[in-house]
Symmetry: C2
């Protein structure tokens, strides 16, 4: 075992500044190229550009009408029009050169035709009325734009108006990206256990492209220091900057910092952030180098917080900034004093407030990252945040999605995703922001005013009745409405062919079970069925092994790590598992009354009632629909 | 003369909604294509996509460390470590499959090596510590994204993690763009008077591209109804939507509305906006059609306010929105009740407030549009705005430019643009926002707190002294600091070879002069020189013809529309004019004391003192630098 070497733990601001200073100190020459203005949208000008022609380049009529000598119109009024003969005026269109011996244009709307081609004017004009002077827009020699200006559509027009058809722009820098690691395989390959599909390079390339840089993705390099060193040398030779992926920490096969020390200058190894700590920063000659952590979320954070700024220096752009909004954190969070922590969250508008629901922290959960509506930071000098604390959330998606968001927090069912898809396909879009926190989580979130609605399937053991009893208990003063959704089949998911012969909860004894998290309706159902059979949780091996969704339970069974788990039919079907039906339950939605009349909730209810929704559920199987979208009275 | 037909004057909201409703009613099928996920950044998903593999796809170590059975670590404490033999643990790296008969991973940092390969653990672990379950990120069958979702770098990672390497996306719609008009010529050509270079198609193409659409630009079509009808028919055939440029009004050669009536359905002809009124909207079968006004600024407004929404429907994206800020309008504005007016403005932060300075309203000034930092609207039911009124300014450039803006309002000199270029090229960028309102305009803006600094060259006729007297008069209580800039040569600009033999202001009698606007220091200098010669403005033909910059005056002389105008040497040089030096004047900057210590002003002063600035001015000619950037005491 290689001895563990502790990384440095310098602050993000210091790490970023070190890198910025190093890039500036390298005084990298600006590579430029000349491109056609028509094709230069979003390019960055490399120098000031000046008009080579005035616009307009001649004195022109600014209107359709007649060109006149203003002095001939003096005295015209409503009651006393001036009559002009055909010798006194010339018909002009917008953009026509102003004819000789005229100095004003009367708009055609104000010209009244009389006999013999004469016209009557009911008001006088003054010289240069409706006339565009030479250079009204821009004069030859005027600066159109300074250096380092991002070309926009309007600027393209300005350049062409000013007679400039080519523009010298900053060449897009090229980043060399080198994925590394013995276990890394090309993502398309058939994966064996231990294989890690390579996709960070695709994420980083796309980010760089958004920031105005190109990239070359090199083949995956194994964890051998000589191979790695050769690959980095080649990339530093061929590109303007180099990123390696993985191997940036201090483990057995982490050679990045050693290689950088050998080839260039190591500036930072370890930043006080989470995720993203094990980053390696430095320079190889005039080429910035970043050793990126292998976990995708860590990598994305280091890209955003470090590489983006390096890229801005090379592209001569301002680093992009996310739009931010204020939001209330939905739950208490603890955070270490050892680092600045970046937290992903779902963010939705509920009762006019923005609520940020922190998402799982795993550095590997790129899907979670992709689905996150926002990102917020817990400072290094903070031990955490209280529930309800206000944070600045950097939006990861368009703000319009937040403004038209519908928060659904509670029990997981894939029907929520299907409804979300139907909602986004409507003329007036609704963006569903869903969190899977179980049925009891739905009730807590609704009580706290943190969600507009939530899915629940809560069995009252005494009455055998679904949902209503819980509503009466947790909302004694009302404030919520129960909306019928579906009856769905719950059952045991077991391997194809049911090799362990599991047909009831009694058969779970001696088998490896995988359970759902506390508060999940499916777990409450298991508890109910165990009690009915006179069993206790201790009878079930794996009762404490918790997953958060039906599909996660199905995946654990399909993987062979468990023999059975409880879930809905469609999850078993997706995984090719056998399904032992145990119970038909009512899965309904609980809606805050304050949200019930919002367009978003009304659209959601309309979707529940739609034929398309019914068709999708039929396709998935295991559901019965009886008047979905209707209100269920809960009074005892 | 064709009779003028009044256009309709429906509100922008109604016009937009009519068009949106028509496009929705056409129920245009969604064209899709399958692209590689790696190349799908910024594409829009055409349907929901689901994971085909769980991520991770096996139970994995989440850390570098040793895999153990958690039960074997029970009881380990700081004072009483547990010793494991090599049989009890297996060294694992991050991402390794969890070995058989282990259920937890201890981080390498917490493993203490002992003799014979044994290790000591000083704390116990629980099952699944540092273990990633199958599907921790996403499970097979889970929806990755719904329909109509813009692909992001993180989503690219999510797709690949979920085993999906191709994505069905909405095909980029193609807009056919047809420039029209007898006077329109390809922009690259040598221009004769009356020729209008075609560049609107380039502006519109770039805008469409930013909004996710492609375009085909067709050759310019002359103003002949049969040619136009054939061109529109062809474009409607080949593309998903059609834009014509110009001919959309009701003048002699405006056939667009007739053509649309012939080929499809005319929905709107004339919108109550300025600029942008003469737009023609409708459908040709399932193809949206917009007849765009010919003036570039009008066209850009109609693109932003109408075509963007049509494009959003075809691309299945949300229409882009500009970021907005609150700002105070610098001067009183009147606006007609006949239309909603879109005003371009320069916007800068002064003393912590955002100030919006309205720019000239001409519909043809595309350069002005391109340089505008913002856009705001005066409602149709408003007759105008008072100075100081708060407006919502839609930012046309990155907000960071506003935050690092330096407002320079006052006398025009190209040296301001050169300084602006040097300021943007520095490590810490400053964005100069300049308005040319003359020296007296500078003084008024400084008094009103609307600018940080302004250029002035104001001659006191009595003392013959520059600037100081005005500062004492207009700022009796101080509050501003005068900063030395340059001594510059003013003179008469006349045609090459001086054919009119103009050598002094006396020689202007009987000649065609072009003057500067009221309040301009150059005009004040003329008045001073006239008075010295015992002349009056009435002696000068063209005294009332006003231009706003030195180059605009030079352009008028070069064009032949005037025989002489006063200005600085560099303007005459740019236009190849002869220059008759008359006066050396002090051009200085007046800075609000409240802004003097801001980084932006300090950087500006540093630029004035720099060798690069001096070199550029030497190159331009006509300037003498004596301690630029130094404070000039103004006490009498």
């Amino acid at each position: 075992m290689k001895k563990y070497e502790f990384l440095t733990n310098i602050s993000l601001d210091d790490a970023r500044q070190k890198m910025i200073d190093a890039v500036r100190a390298a005084d990298i020459p600006v590579a430029t190229e000349v491109v056609k203005v028509r094709e230069a949208n979003n390019c960055v000008t490399a120098r000031a550009h000046y008009a080579v022609r005035s616009s307009p380049h001649y004195v022109a009529s600014a209107m359709d009408g007649i060109a006149v000598l203003a002095s001939k119109t003096v005295g015209a009024t409503e009651g006393n029009p001036v009559r002009l003969t055909p010798d006194d005026y010339i018909v002009v269109d917008t953009g026509d050169p102003l004819p000789e011996n005229t100095d004003a244009v009367v708009m055609i709307e104000n010209v009244v035709e009389a006999e013999d081609g004469d016209v009557l004017l009911y008001s006088a004009c003054v010289p240069w009325d409706n006339v565009r002077q030479v250079g009204e827009d821009i004069c030859m020699g005027d600066m159109i734009v300074p250096s380092y200006t991002v070309m926009t559509p309007a600027l393209i027009g300005a350049f062409m108006a000013a007679g400039v058809y080519e523009v010298e722009v900053v060449k897009r820098p090229v980043f060399g990206i080198i994925p590394t690691g013995d276990e890394i395989v090309d993502g398309d390959a058939d994966l064996k256990p231990g294989d890690i599909p390579e996709f960070n390079s695709a994420i980083f390339s796309a980010m760089l492209s958004d920031w105005g840089a190109d990239s070359i993705v090199y083949p995956v390099v194994k964890d051998k220091i000589d191979l790695l060193e050769a690959a980095v040398t080649k990339a530093a030779d061929e590109c303007d900057a180099v990123l390696t992926i993985a191997g940036s920490s201090a483990g057995r096969d982490d050679y990045t910092s050693t290689i950088l020390t050998n080839l260039g200058e190591l500036l930072v190894h370890g930043i006080a952030i989470k995720p993203g700590k094990p980053a390696v920063l430095g320079m190889i000659g005039k080429k910035p180098f970043c050793g990126m952590p292998g976990y995708p979320v860590s990598g994305i954070i280091v890209m955003e917080e470090i590489v983006k700024y390096v890229c801005a220096l090379l592209t001569h752009r301002e680093p992009e900034r996310d739009e931010t909004v204020k939001a209330q954190v939905s739950r208490k969070l603890t955070s270490s004093l050892k680092y600045e922590e970046f937290l992903r969250c779902r963010v939705a508008e509920v009762d006019g407030k923005n609520i940020a629901v922190p998402m799982p922290r795993g550095a590997g959960v790129v899907t979670g990252f992709a689905k996150a509506g926002g990102l917020f930071v817990v400072d290094q000098n903070s031990e955490g945040l209280e529930a309800g604390a206000t944070v600045d959330v950097a939006l990861q998606r368009d703000k319009v999605e937040l403004e038209n968001s519908l928060s659904i927090t509670g029990s997981h069912d894939p029907l929520i995703d299907e409804a979300a898809d139907l909602l986004i396909r409507q003329d007036e879009r609704t963006y569903v922001v869903s969190s899977h926190v179980g049925s009891m989580g739905a009730i807590m979130a609704l009580r706290a005013g943190e969600t507009a609605l939530g899915g629940i399937h809560l069995l009252d053991a005494e009455s055998g009745e679904y949902n209503k009893a819980y509503v009466r208990q947790y909302f004694p003063n009302g404030g919520v409405t129960l909306i019928r959704c579906v009856i769905r089949q719950q059952g045991l998911m077991v391997k194809k062919g049911n090799p362990e012969n599991i047909h009831s909860v009694k058969d779970l004894i001696g088998k490896r079970y995988v359970n759902r998290q506390k508060g999940a309706g499916t777990r409450i159902l298991l508890d109910y069925l165990l009690e009915k059979e006179g069993m206790t949780p201790d009878d079930i091996y794996g009762y404490t092994r918790e997953e958060y969704t039906h599909t996660a339970v199905a995946a654990a069974v399909a993987d062979g790590g468990a023999d059975a788990g409880m879930g809905i039919y469609s999850a078993a079907k997706t995984y090719g598992l056998d399904f032992v039906p145990l119970w038909d339950e009512e899965y309904d939605f609980l809606v805050r009354d304050s949200a019930l009349e919002t367009p978003e909730v009304q659209r959601f209810l309309a979707v529940l009632k739609s034929d398309e929704f019914a068709a999708r559920l039929t396709e998935m199987g295991g559901y019965t629909l009886e008047a979905p979208g209707e209100v269920i009275p809960v009074d005892a």
